[in-house]
Amino acid sequence: MSDRPIKLERDEQHMFNIRALIAGVLILFALLGILGRLYQLQVIQFDKYAELSRQHYQKRIPIPPNRGQIYDRNGVLLADSHTQYVLEVVRDNIGDENGDGKSTLADIDGLLERLGKLIPLEEKEVRAFKTQVRRFKYQPIPIRENLTEEEIAAFAVNRPRFPGVNMEVRMERFYPLGRLASHVIGYVGRIDAHDLERVDKNEYIGTTHIGKSGVEASHEDRLHGRAGYHLIEVDAHGKQQSVVSEKAPVGGQDLFLGLDINLQRTAEKLLEGERGAIIAMDPSNGEVLALVSVPTFDPNLFINGISHKDYSDLRDNPDRPLFNRALQGTYPPGSTIKPMVGVAGLAEKVITPGSRVHDPGFFRLSGQKHVFRCWNKRGHGSVDLKYAIQQSCDTYFYDLAYRMGIDRFSNFMRKFGFGEKTGIDLPSEATGLMPSKKWKEDRYKRDWFPGDTVNIGIGQGYWLATPVQLAHAVTIMANHGVRLKPHILRGVRITRNQQESVLKPEPFPPVEVDERFWRLAIQGMENVMRPGGTARAAGAGAAYRIAGKTGTAQVFGLAGGKYNAGRIAKRLRDHALFIGFAPVDNPKIAVSVIVENSSGSGGHTAAPIGRKIMDAYLLKQYGDDKLSPSETETDASGAEDPHD
């Protein structure tokens, strides 16, 4: 490049020296500026900042509230809180432990060594403690929870040797009845990040546990209460100087469930060794008297973090003990819904009380070859509604459903609560499925066939219901259309020395049909329990009038083959169902029973269970070892001592 000027090393050196000199002087002034600022802070405004530094800082120490207790309807204690002892360390208070004349982090190791001789500390505990104690100098950090009686005694004697180490009392959840009603009560567990997202963090600062399932979770807001605090002043070294103010925590509410724990226990025993669910409700107010799902589990395992082995045992158990069948299990309702279908047919004028259908043992759509069989191959002859219910005649209901059409049918069944959550106050309720034309088109992209409707008529096909939906529907039958929301919580007690206040039942819009139709369908249900009915054995010798209906839900698709319980694998056998209520003229109890993969039909297996539950509740047949309020309370505080 010819026009490129010549670079002169000497000129450039000179230029740099000047520029660097100027920069050096400017830098000097800039640093003097900073020093001027420091002079302003450290000399001119010294008094102001020295005072601010001396000033006492206020700190808020949270006091967690005591969790409310849970009782059954008769005051039997179901969930209790007992005291446990925790060892905590405040790092700033431990002093010069290792004797080097200074109080530093290194002192922690010396302290742990001495403490470990008194109370054996696990390596895991020590590691967790050390990461915490590094970060917080003035906050108590737990080193050991659940001290045993011996450890408490040993520490109490040696306390003066351990400045900065305190023994604190905490309340811990305990379920005195163990596995009994575990699906209803649920359990608490340690709060995790996920839990904190749905609660007010300020209220949970000092709280360690939160409801994870069952009533413990669904009524967490009532049980938890409101946190209190000490407002204290700390000096420049973080030590407490004085208490400025205090707000006492407000304990959680005590809950009284509608559950009758003796009925619950009876029901759980009736299903022992099976898989299944039972729900008993009081039709007059929607209170749940018993809600059983077997197998059950021990909720006490979950409180302080379930061990890996216990959890995998529960999770991998093929009977799925953690699965709440009563709310989450969806089953084809089978013949149990025939009385409701009958009411629907009458209300929609598809049938009349006197109209009859001829049952040759099967039903066939005109122009089609396919045959829908009645369970009775010989046929029931000419049947009316009452007889069709008593005999559970499939042909009658095939015909009814077909003529009613699927959309009218499922719209009416929704009035009985099928296809939607009942809204019971327990978590994770399933919706079930009340199919419609639109549903099938959306789900399977296929048209609805008339044959689909025929199967729905006997509670098969796509129709799925939960046991609690069935029980809810039975209460509507028992109430002649009055519909109340099923609920577990019956009443609450805000403070310890107060009477429990009972909550009002929540009504839904009633199912409004001619009163005669209810009576007709219920008469059919009464006949089910009498000679000639499908549950005649279960109904024999009752001291009160029972209305019931049996059902059998197919698990195994029988392509025209012959069903033989003995020859089919247990898991593919039919489910046995029963619904019913009693006494007929003044219903006090409504039940739904399902026994999964039963060896017998609804009439043989489920109906006798339903009868025994009615007997137990109405005749108070709970046996000699009946649980009563005072006994369990002594159980919890005496025999079940936490330190044993």
Partner: protein, 370 residues
């Protein structure tokens, strides 16, 4: 002498190290470690990790002090090119942490913007070493473009603090190259006009809050004002003589945040007072001046411009950090050079002093041999 105890290659190598600068650096490092020990509540583990950082830095200092200006000059374009490429990659496939996309994953997360702290002054020193000085207007424009490309890429991440540091390191080189005073003053005027515009239209909310907080720190004591308020209390309450080593109760309480990293200056100020601050600033000033002096002894224009640029940048880090901690400048995540805890900063700063030392004119014996 000590020379006889060392292998001869090391003796030769150490002759390139400026003993005066190294001695003052060591003094500063020692003060820094003492402050760190106090700030971390006598956590010897942390102090040891920092000592390891310094030893690595010291090794790099010795190694880079061997590299001549001629060699280094050849690396400039490649380093700059690689740095810009990585910055583009960051925006495309970078790792996002705390809402900013600043890292690249290559087995571990690296932050390419750190490379630019060296690459930008190197590139500019290279550019001007090829051009007649003082630079023509067009050369200044091209040099500014070389600064703005990485600056904008880093602002996009967003990392306004680092973008600012890198841009200023480039401006210092342009200044040292002899950019005319007329251009400098009109440039400064332009910035003073553009700054409010940037505040209103070019900033993220959190950045704007930091500036609001600076102008009125007591307005937001629970939010961003908390840091500055607490560090001002710590420094101010230190007074003339300070509270004494390990006795700074402000810094030992949990009140002062980031006390072993960005806010360690507050711990120092509280414990050693104005007297300590005078000594600390004296040490820094000596290091910067010595750096400029060594730069002026550089082999060629590239050596002088790069050495000078790195020295002034070192001052700028100090200025931004101490200004921030004492409440004069907004909160920007810049460590106090050679005192704050942190490996990257310590290692790169030691390395840059090695570069400054290495580019000095060779002594006569070597020249004769060559």
């Amino acid at each position: 002498m000590i020379n006889s105890l060392l292998p001869s290659w090391l003796v030769v190598a150490l002759q390139r190290v400026d003993a005066v600068l190294l001695a003052v650096l060591s003094l500063l490092v020692f003060l820094g470690l003492a402050t760190l020990y106090s700030a971390s509540d006598a956590d010897m583990d942390q102090v040891q990790r920092q000592i390891v950082n310094f030893l690595i830095g010291l090794g790099l200092l010795v190694i880079f002090s061997q590299i001549s200006s001629k060699t280094l000059r050849l690396w400039s374009i490649w380093l700059y090119g690689a740095g810009v490429t990585l910055l583009v990659l960051v925006l495309v496939i970078g790792v996002t942490k705390k809402g900013a996309q600043r890292w690249l994953y290559v087995g571990t997360d690296i932050q390419p913007a750190e490379i630019m702290k060296l690459a930008v002054p190197m590139m500019l020193a290279y550019y001007f070493s090829e051009k007649p000085l003082p630079p023509r207007f067009i050369d200044v424009v091209i040099a500014l473009l070389l600064v703005f490309v990485p600056m904008l890429l880093i602002m996009k991440q967003p990392d306004l603090g680092t973008a600012l540091l890198i841009a200023t390191s480039g401006f210092f080189v342009i200044y040292l190259a002899g950019m005319s005073w007329w251009l400098i003053s009109s440039g400064l005027m332009l910035v003073s006009v553009a700054a409010p515009l940037l505040y209103f239209f070019g900033m993220h909310d959190y950045q704007r809050r930091r500036i609001d907080t600076l102008l009125n720190p007591e307005s937001d004591l629970l939010g961003t004002g908390y840091h500055i308020y607490q560090s001002k209390i710590a420094i101010g309450s230190g007074g003339f003589y300070g509270k004494g080593w390990m006795n700074g109760d402000q810094s030992h309480l949990d009140f002062l945040p980031e006390r072993h990293t960005d806010f360690i200056f507050a711990v120092f100020g509280e414990e050693f007072g104005l007297v300590g601050n005078l000594i600390l600033m004296g040490l820094y000033l000596f290091i910067i001046w010595r750096g400029l002096y060594l730069a002026s002894k550089g082999e060629d224009t590239f050596a002088r411009l790069l050495g000078g640029g790195l020295s002034v940048s070192f001052f700028f880090y100090l200025f931004v950090n101490s200004g921030m901690v004492s409440g004069l400048l907004p909160v920007v995540g810049v460590p106090l050079p050679l005192v704050s805890y942190g490996g990257t900063s310590v290692v790169t700063l030691m390395m840059s002093f090695g570069i400054i030392m290495g580019m000095r004119k060779r002594k006569r014996i070597y020249q004769q041999e060559g």
